[in-house]
């Protein structure tokens, strides 16, 4: 029988800690596939965040460190500056990056740190039970916005790629979505460019991946993916916001 699809070797055999229907696994797979295709596995250090992906090093088989909440970009900076030959990925959720770690993310981008950030946006704090995140949509009910997110109380969702694209340091900034095969293929294309930005020493790179949280959204996985298309993508449109020469 011809093998047409298999688990990348860089994904471990360990059971994940993710909920059924959670797209973290898809993002992990995209990273693993690209590291293998680009021959980067043995050079890679992944900085894992505090959040649902806190145990990410159990699932992607590279050297890894575990950052304090929000500090992944700073830690990645410390690794990359002292060991420039390493390929450094910072994997962060929306609470980790856009809330407590926004300063570190913005300044790493402004400095043009040669790191790649994979930024997973599922619109809430998954691990702590579904509280409001900076990315929570207006009207969205979470455990800390029981009446829905109200602009007059909680402000507005934050658009990280658009913010960072205004800076001169980034070489590649994009937003992808993990809701459908078509979008996942596109997400991989974007991530390849982000990896190229680092590999070719062009500057900072980040790909936001619009993700789902079926457990805390209280939806089936299919419903959650439909919600991404109907409610989330109109607010967080897919696209490339900064594309330096040489990332292709």
């Amino acid at each position: 029988m011809k093998l047409i699809y298999k688990k990348p070797d860089t994904i471990t055999k360990r059971d994940t800690t993710y909920c059924p229907g959670c797209p973290h696994g898809i993002a992990h797979r995209l990273i693993a596939e690209l590291l293998e295709e680009m021959d980067l596995v043995k050079k890679t250090v992944i900085v894992w965040p505090v959040g649902c992906s806190v145990f990410g090093y159990y699932f992607i088989a590279t050297d890894a460190v575990e950052a304090a909440h929000g500090r992944a970009c700073a830690m990645a900076t410390g690794i990359k500056r002292t060991h420039p030959e390493s390929f450094v990925i910072s994997y962060q959720g929306d609470g980790d990056l856009a809330s407590i770690g926004i300063a570190e993310a913005v300044h790493a981008a402004a400095r043009g740190e040669r790191i790649t950030v994979v930024y997973i946006n599922n619109g809430n704090y998954g691990m702590t039970g579904g509280q409001m995140a900076p990315t929570t949509l207006i009207g969205q009910i979470t455990t800390t916005t029981p009446y829905g997110r109200k602009p007059e109380l909680n402000g507005f969702p934050m658009h990280v790629p658009e913010m960072l694209a205004a800076l001169d340091g980034p070489a590649y900034i994009a937003r992808a979505a993990l809701d459908s095969p078509q979008h996942i293929i596109q997400a991989k294309k974007f991530l390849r460019k982000a990896f190229n930005a680092q590999k070719n020493n062009l500057g900072f790179s980040l790909v936001e991946m619009i993700s789902a949280c079926p457990t805390n959204w209280k939806m089936t996985p299919v419903e959650a993916m439909e919600r991404i298309r109907k409610e989330v993508l109109p607010v967080f449109p897919i696209g490339e916001f900064k594309v330096a020469k040489g990332v292709e």
């Binding site: 590279t62 500090r71 913005v106």
Partner: protein, 354 residues
């Protein structure tokens, strides 16, 4: 040893770190130690090493943490409020078993306080500061020359035990000038990336993971016990102190850092008056020279602890003396530096009262 050069303390600290093989600096400006990062910013690029001004102390310590995970000799320097911001990072560094050097040029607190020299971060430095059961090795030099010499040891200890080493100085030591002599340069070509470093798996047959996380209590207790075993070893092997004119002393001053320097003058003043006063000066304030002080309790009539805080090392001195003899205290707060005359006056009140 080279020739003597006249240098400001804050700059001598940077030069010593560079010669001791420090390959990277990450930090954020704060008075009274800005000359240290400024000096690094000039020298590190000349040597092809890393200097990075971070966006905050919070970011700086996490950059240090990242660099430490690559097994690189790395430093940050700051002063009290900045050090407070770094405490979370210190705790992570402790439970990740990575090494780094942190200089705290202490200033008056609490809060924004002032920019004058103080010693009020003793508790924070020696008892943890961040969350969890951890320690850092804390060196408390009392002259610029000693600071320069200890900087080499600081990096060696950080490498040897994979631990954070704090150089606990104060604003005064940073701002004054003294002739200093530097030891030989550490040959940085001999500093190899350690086997445990997270730099990419390369040819290793296993991958490296550095984390302070262990979700199962039994596992985390094991991690804690391993840390405590390391601390025990450090306590057994790395205690350093200076006992100044203690051989025949009937009274002992206890002081660290700048105050210990002033206390030496106090000892001379007492000796000129025929009073047998000595000084016990912990050089490592963690691990604390508990046994050595306890032993002296059999010899002296009382201890007189002097600090630029409300009596923080005093607690460690009392624990060491363990009730054998009285332990008196005098201190100034908020950045006021006591004079030798003032301390001697307080001491004479205690002697006269007997």
């Amino acid at each position: 040893m080279g020739e003597k050069v006249l240098m400001k303390g804050a700059e001598a600290i940077a030069e010593a770190a560079i010669r001791a093989g420090c390959m990277a600096f990450f930090g954020y400006p704060i008075t009274p130690q800005n000359e240290t990062p400024e000096y690094f910013s000039r020298r590190m690029p000349e040597l092809g090493r890393v200097f990075l001004q971070a966006e905050s102390e919070v970011a700086a310590i996490n950059m240090v943490y990242g660099a430490a995970c690559t097994g690189t000799r790395v430093i940050t320097t700051s002063s009290s409020p900045g050090i407070s911001l770094m405490q979370e990072g210190f705790s992570y560094i402790a439970n990740s078993n990575v090494g780094c050097v942190v200089v705290n040029a202490m200033r008056g607190g609490p809060g924004l306080g002032d920019i004058a020299p103080a010693q009020a971060d003793y508790f924070q430095a020696t008892k943890g500061g961040g969350h969890g059961d951890y320690h850092s090795i804390v060196l408390a030099p009392h002259t610029i020359q000693e600071t320069v010499d200890l900087m080499y040891d600081a990096f060696d200890l950080a490498d040897k035990y994979r631990i954070m080493v704090v150089m606990l100085v104060d604003g005064l030591m940073g701002q004054m000038m003294e002739p200093v002599e530097f030891k030989e340069w550490v040959d940085v070509k001999k500093l190899k990336t350690p086997e445990w470093a997270t730099v990419g798996q390369g040819d290793r047959d296993h991958r490296n993971i550095i984390t302070s996380l262990e979700i199962l209590p039994d596992g985390l207790e094991k991690m804690n016990l391993a840390l405590q075993a390391k601390y025990k070893k450090i306590k057994e092997n790395e205690v350093r102190l200076e006992e100044y004119k203690m051989d025949d002393a009937e009274y002992a001053l206890t002081a660290f850092g700048t105050v210990a320097r002033i206390a030496k003058t106090v000892v001379e003043m007492a000796r000129a008056d025929g009073i047998k006063l000595g000084l016990i000066r912990p050089i490592t304030v963690w691990p604390f020279p508990e046994k050595e002080i306890n032993k002296r309790a059999d010899q002296v009539k009382f201890f007189f602890d002097v600090e630029m805080n409300e009596g923080q090392m005093l607690e460690d001195v009392k624990l060491a003396v363990n009730g054998k003899k009285p332990v008196h205290y005098y201190g100034r707060l908020g950045g006021v530096v006591p004079t030798a005359e003032e301390i001697y006056g307080e001491f004479k009140k205690l002697v006269g009262g007997k």
